[in-house]
Symmetry: C2
């Protein structure tokens, strides 16, 4: 290590510390803060954001990066030093592409749009939100021009969440998923055996749910000595360091799934952060490399592990012992079928493992159309409902249950949604590779354990943090670019058996 | 309001936001953070501190203060603007008196001293801590010279916690307290009727304790809509704005007092912050004016209210209903006597309302002797034990239960201790004034209510935040400087009756 690189590191640590301070304020806002504290908290976060933005876009900082880059010229591509320089150059350039005026205006519009949207959704009044959606679309268009792109506009936005991935690639993969998944969904609807999921819809004491959530996240390897479980309205995971990576969940008194699968999902995210290499600490490399790869980890523990028969054969007795009255008369097979019930529905966040992807593909297609000026805000409800019919075979009775359901379109965040479905696909592709490289993973799962799986993930994915782009990572780990094949093999096998197709 | 003052306010808001961000990180560290997260959290807090220190000691900032002061020349003394300028000038000058080298060295020594102290206390090994105590004393001496003083060295340090108060004044007041309190303590020991406090030493379910803590702090007026109750090892209160002022407490499974009186104590602190005037928001005036005045609020709700017979006559039935097995056979009088048992003891934080002050007077006297070079570190244990004998009539069997018990002397913080006892004295003086100005306060207390008391405190104390110095405030509110008379009247009447002297 050398002088110019060390000088850069000092600045990197400083910016990192301030960004993590901001993350603590944000976490506290969701978990502990009384609602009345919001105005002051927004002021505190705005001030802190302004400082980190100033520091991370300054000419001085750019100079430090380039000086260190020149000094390190020839460092191996895989080295921490070269990887950090690559990441810093990219994020520095991106940050400087957005003028402060745009950032401020964007925050202003988003703040107001969010308030109007909340009321519009509550009152099923799309017309009142329409002018704000128009502004959000314009912001997305402006942002795409500011970032720049080679092939198509959407690339500029997608790139911010899934660096290096092209819209054309995602489109091709999603088309392939659609081509196979729509018939599978239809076959289940037409020929599948019915599933009774009343087992998960009963009265469940919340303190007991909390106890089980701690048990089950501990069982999959989430390290509570370096973590914390909090209660929130909208669950998320966050980390302030690899030694303080937190999960949150919510508790329904009459429905077991949200807390159970929410906790498993978030622990998947948090284990990724807990598993980053200590040498990356206090730098922006010490976190998941993209939203899609991050989602692959959460979905793996929520679905591939957490909705598998093997896993519950081991853990269901414990759940039964905590809820003897509710579960005593239900077998593990009853429970397994209930948590895997396929049921096309209107709301994305309530969707099952199979139909969830349709909700994402729909949004991905509509975002492109709005961004490219092919779909006007006023025509969104109609377009939404048509795609729901095409992909899911159901049409929401109201816009509140349709195009107004998500908060995402209150800010210029087009390009974010596809990462949810990409996570499912990455997850399945990683899983196939992991199991082929270490068959003991399946043996352990039959005992309800994931030790070897987590070790494999740490070795092949977690430790690298953001050193490699998602494209580089999936190629290194699985030997090929992302495609739909592993995911389709997984869902086809699982649901054909489940529904006796 | 004018341009230069507005320019100053922008900078004041910025520094305030960063200081409050630091407070959030500190709160989270005590309440939620896994122990493994400490190193990263210290880094984050150090970076944030460095920024706020740089901003609040810069030449630019000094210029802004003076420009605004010149512009506001002639503004009424009581105005928010003039009060803010007075406060900023003072804190700016103080902050610049400590060179960065001293601040860094001081933090370094304190960090190491704390670790050595923790082990020395655990092993009752004063000798191993002695060299570190010597360094801490030297740092205090150096700090006093850096700050400067007119009359005596200790003034320079006391001033940082109780602005404007002189050591000679505190000495005179404490001497007067001693002269009356020692005989009262002796009379209780010799002629008082014995108290059985087994009622509070039983098994108490912690969740039920939490329920009652929420009930009783709500009952005295702590606003949970602008607050939060957390669990910690060492209880404290903090605020991130007047709309987010938090309390913490700890729970013992076999002893009711810590959670009960801890929660009342911290709610007294937090209500002070909740009661600051909204116009002071986002400035350093929006908090309690000194440690002593702050402590007067916490002690008032812990002791004058929370250990009064009237209060428990109203609330004891509720406590009984939550712990029917434990409390069913004890009367409210049994309970009242138990929570007011006078018992000289070794440990300050476990001391009763009457003997607590001796623990503080002892530390105040020893700190001066060490600061002035009249007492060497090596002679501290002996001096400590002699004063314990003189003031409390008991001598600790070990240094761990003696001069090693507090964390305070691991940092250059001489001058902090006396504010604890000053709080008791301020509190009694405020209380007498409040009751004489509004006798309904006592009538309400008989109903277990403190609405008029809190209204009086808000009107006369809380709303002003830091606009006035503690000396100014006590003069404005009570018409005279602080003295020992009200406190002695209060404890003499209360404990003479209780112990049938």
């Amino acid at each position: 290590m050398t002088t110019k690189y060390e000088a850069l590191l000092d600045k990197v640590y400083e910016i990192h510390d301030l960004n993590k301070a901001l993350a603590v304020l944000s976490w506290d806002k969701e978990v502990n803060m009384p609602a009345a504290g919001l105005d002051a908290r927004v002021q505190q976060m705005t001030t802190l954001s302004r400082f980190t933005h100033l520091l991370s876009t300054s000419d001085d900082y750019g100079g430090l990066i380039e000086d260190a880059a020149a000094e390190l010229n020839g460092a191996p591509y895989d080295s921490n030093e070269a990887s950090l320089i690559r990441y810093l150059r990219r994020s520095y350039e991106d940050a400087r592409k957005l003028p402060p005026e745009f950032v401020a205006r964007s925050a202003e519009v988003s703040g107001q749009a969010r308030a109007v949207w909340a009321q519009a959704r509550a009152e099923n009044d799309f017309a009142s939100y329409q002018p704000w959606l128009e502004q959000v679309i314009e912001l997305c268009q402006e942002q795409a021009e500011l970032y720049g792109y080679e092939d198509e506009k959407y690339d500029a936005l997608l790139d911010k969440y899934e660096y290096g991935m092209k819209t054309a690639d995602v489109r091709a993969i999603f088309e392939a998923v659609k081509a196979e998944l729509v018939p599978l969904r239809q076959a289940i609807a037409e020929r599948g055996t019915a599933v009774d999921d009343s087992v998960v819809h009963q009265s469940f004491d919340i303190d007991t749910q909390k106890k089980f959530a701690r048990y089950i996240t501990d069982a999959v390897g989430y390290d509570f000595n370096r973590g914390h479980l909090g209660t929130v309205v909208h669950p998320f995971a966050t980390s302030f360091s690899r030694n303080d990576a937190r999960i949150t969940t919510r508790w329904y008194p009459d429905f077991l799934n949200p807390s159970l699968f929410g906790a498993l999902h978030e622990s998947g995210h948090a284990m990724y952060e807990q598993g980053t290499h200590p040498d990356l600490a206090r730098t922006p490399l010490a976190r998941g490399t993209s939203l899609g790869i991050h989602e692959s980890q959460s979905r793996m523990f929520e679905n591939l592990v957490g909705r598998s028969r093997a896993f519950w054969q081991a853990h269901y007795p414990r759940l039964q012992s905590l809820f003897p009255q509710q579960l005593g008369s239900y077998t593990v097979e009853d429970f397994y079928r209930a948590i895997n019930k396929v049921q096309p529905s209107f709301i994305r966040v309530e969707a099952d493992e199979l139909t969830y992807n349709f909700h994402i593909i729909l949004r991905f297609e509509l975002e492109q159309a709005m961004l490219n000026g092919e779909l006007a805000a006023k025509d969104l409800p109609e377009a939404w409902n048509a795609k729901m019919e095409e992909l899911l075979g159901v049409v929401p009775p109201t816009d509140s249950q349709g195009c107004l359901q998500d908060v995402h379109w209150t800010r210029p965040g087009f390009g974010y949604f596809p990462t949810y479905a990409l996570g499912n696909l990455y997850g399945a592709q990683f899983w196939e590779t992991a199991v082929s490289q270490n068959p003991a993973i399946l043996d352990e799962l039959n005992q309800g354990q994931t030790t070897s799986l987590l070790a494999w993930l740490r070795e092949n994915i977690h430790q690298y943090g953001r050193k490699f782009t998602p494209g580089e990572l999936v190629q290194r780990v699985t030997g090929r670019p992302l495609d739909h094949a592993a995911f389709m093999r997984y869902v086809t096998a699982k649901f054909s058996e489940l529904y006796a197709l």
